[in-house]
Symmetry: C2
Subunit: 362 residues, 2 copies
């Protein structure tokens, strides 16, 4: 059993960065629950760990500058500020953000990607507004009908990539097929795998199981060049019997599954904490067990899995969790660094073109 | 915050049973991964803890009798054997089971409910075959289009009831509404709640979120007499910000969410075990922390949540997990005891009739 722990994953990401070429990432400095208080320190840490990285902090100069002044000056030469007068709030409707916030930090950060001034954009802002803005500004990749959100989850085998995590509330079989093509290229590039194992999320592993859309998608995948391994069930997201590198599903199911897992992990964490907080004896035991509990926590720390990529657009946008702290936001920036370095968007685009050409000649 | 732990839940279930009237449950003795090796010892334990309980073991006498002989004789006077010559295998297709296995332990156990000889049936057999057989034998409740599977999940608030967990791969808004009506009656009866909080599973809490089916179901629920609290997200299944007693979703999403939670719990369990097994020191710490870890494990032990009820049929069928051990199968039988005692089927039927009558006069 090939095991890749979180630390191994991060170590390999960091090893990649050492030999990286110059890259520029625009940061929506105002996005997320904590805004610049998190995005700025995280940005400086990323500059420190990757000497080839340049960052553009997009947001209100009057807010960004005082915070930057409090930070160490080191590495700030690779940091520029790009003023944006507006800010998209966390509960703003995507259509309103698109219409009324043309100078928002989010919009301007994405504009920089469109204009070739940044290789990717990272934002912890409102997901709906970020997706709508990214789609409007960057445009869809030719051949792809809908964008999808992809991220990783820790699993007993290391980790699993999953899409769509919520961009689409209902999908056709063709949409699911397109998600698989895109996700497969991302996994190939990021993990260095030649033939990622691709599974389709369903409520059973037998052929007869599932709804029409999943059954039709299975046929498309069976007839494709992908290493399609068949249906997988919900438990495969974290702990299936066989390793699967990429799990494809529609955004409704994917989003519910992701949040169910978050809820389960939270509940289990609370329960574990309660068990160790019951009385003076259990608290003493907690003290003794602290190093073990710490290493356990680190392995499944959701902050080390932060960052979801929007696929299907003509440019790279990474969404960080809104509640991300510094470590979590660093993970999201590092994900952007890896995907830029691995040329994920170009590879997906080339593959989509190839699949389309094959279909036309078929 | 009202907290109901697993133990509190089981204690309250057991307290109910003490004042129970005579009830008879048919057991599919051959069902599940372990068959009579699990179902028989579990049955005897249930007879021991509830003096008003009578059980009918349905299955192959030639297999059941020798196992019964190895068990203590006590309480066996309330146990009868009903011979059934066939057995539905775990991977048999529902249609084949229905057509070719008319004398299966599963079918005969359900027949006993139809014929009024048992108040409920418990089976750990093949879910698809059990549902198809139960639907064929017991018939649908008038006014209900489709059966649904309901069970409980541990949550930070105690536990949450969820349906549908996999009976239906796609549902209309009307189906979801019917599930809510049925689930609400079950929760009222089993939990003794007057106005259970009912949530609809979605990918966000805002009105604009979700697919058409969920949005339409929300309108039906808003206009109903139910205590509908709105959309809830996947994390609410285990650890939402507010307590919700009943979560309604379609069977595809519900099944994926349930299995995702199972997978996450398994992965976290494996990770915790690994952390404590790393070396001689961590193993020593595990020894010291053993009582705490044991109490933690007990709180989220899936065996204490085993048992799902089929709703929408004219009779009570409880599905146990196929891999249930003795403790898990006991939990499933005890769930049947509680639902019989609380007259869940009759209450649901009366409520469905009432809602239908209201609609006709509207």
């Amino acid at each position: 059993m090939q095991r890749r722990t979180t630390m191994a994953r991060l170590t390999s990401i960091r090893a990649e960065l050492v030999v990286s070429v110059s890259l520029t990432i625009s940061i929506d400095a105002m996005g997320g629950d904590y805004g610049p208080q998190v995005t700025i320190p995280a940005s400086l840490d990323c500059l420190k760990s990757n000497p080839d990285l340049k960052l553009i902090l997009v947001g209100d100069e009057a807010i960004i500058n005082p915070i930057l002044l409090q930070q160490p000056l080191q590495h700030q030469d690779r940091l520029t500020i790009h003023h944006a007068s507006q800010c998209v709030t966390m509960d703003e409707s995507p259509s309103k953000a698109l219409k009324n916030k043309k100078d928002s930090s989010m919009r301007v950060a994405i504009n920089l990607v469109r204009d070739g001034l940044a290789d990717a954009c990272v934002s912890a802002g409102n997901t709906g507004a970020l997706m709508a803005t990214a789609r409007f500004v960057l445009k869809m990749m030719p051949g792809i009908d809908r964008p999808a959100i992809i991220s990783t989850l820790p699993s007993t085998f290391g980790h699993t990539h999953v899409l769509d995590l919520g961009a689409n509330v209902d999908c056709t079989a063709e949409h699911l097929f397109q998600f698989a093509i895109m996700g497969n290229e991302l996994v190939k590039a990021v993990e260095g795998l030649e033939n990622p194992k691709v599974g389709l999320l369903n409520i059973g592993e037998e052929d007869m199981k599932g709804n029409e859309q999943v059954k039709s998608a299975a046929k498309l995948l069976e007839n494709s060049a992908l290493n399609y391994i068949g249906y997988v069930e919900g438990n495969s997201l974290n702990a299936g019997n066989i390793k699967v590198d990429l799990i494809v599903t529609d955004g409704f199911v994917g989003n519910v599954a992701l949040k169910s897992i978050e809820g389960a992990a939270k509940m289990i964490g609370v329960t574990l904490k309660e068990a160790f907080s019951k009385n003076i004896f259990t608290k003493l035991i907690a003290l003794i067990a602290y190093p073990v509990l710490k290493s356990f926590k680190k392995r499944i720390d959701p902050r080390l899995y932060n960052g979801a990529s929007f696929l299907g657009l003509q440019g790279l946008v990474i969404k960080s969790h809104g509640g991300a702290d510094k470590l979590a936001f660093i993970t999201a920036i590092q994900l952007a660094e890896v995907e830029v370095k691995k040329d994920v968007i170009k590879k997906i685009s080339a593959q989509v073109e190839k699949v389309l050409a094959l279909r036309e000649t078929a």
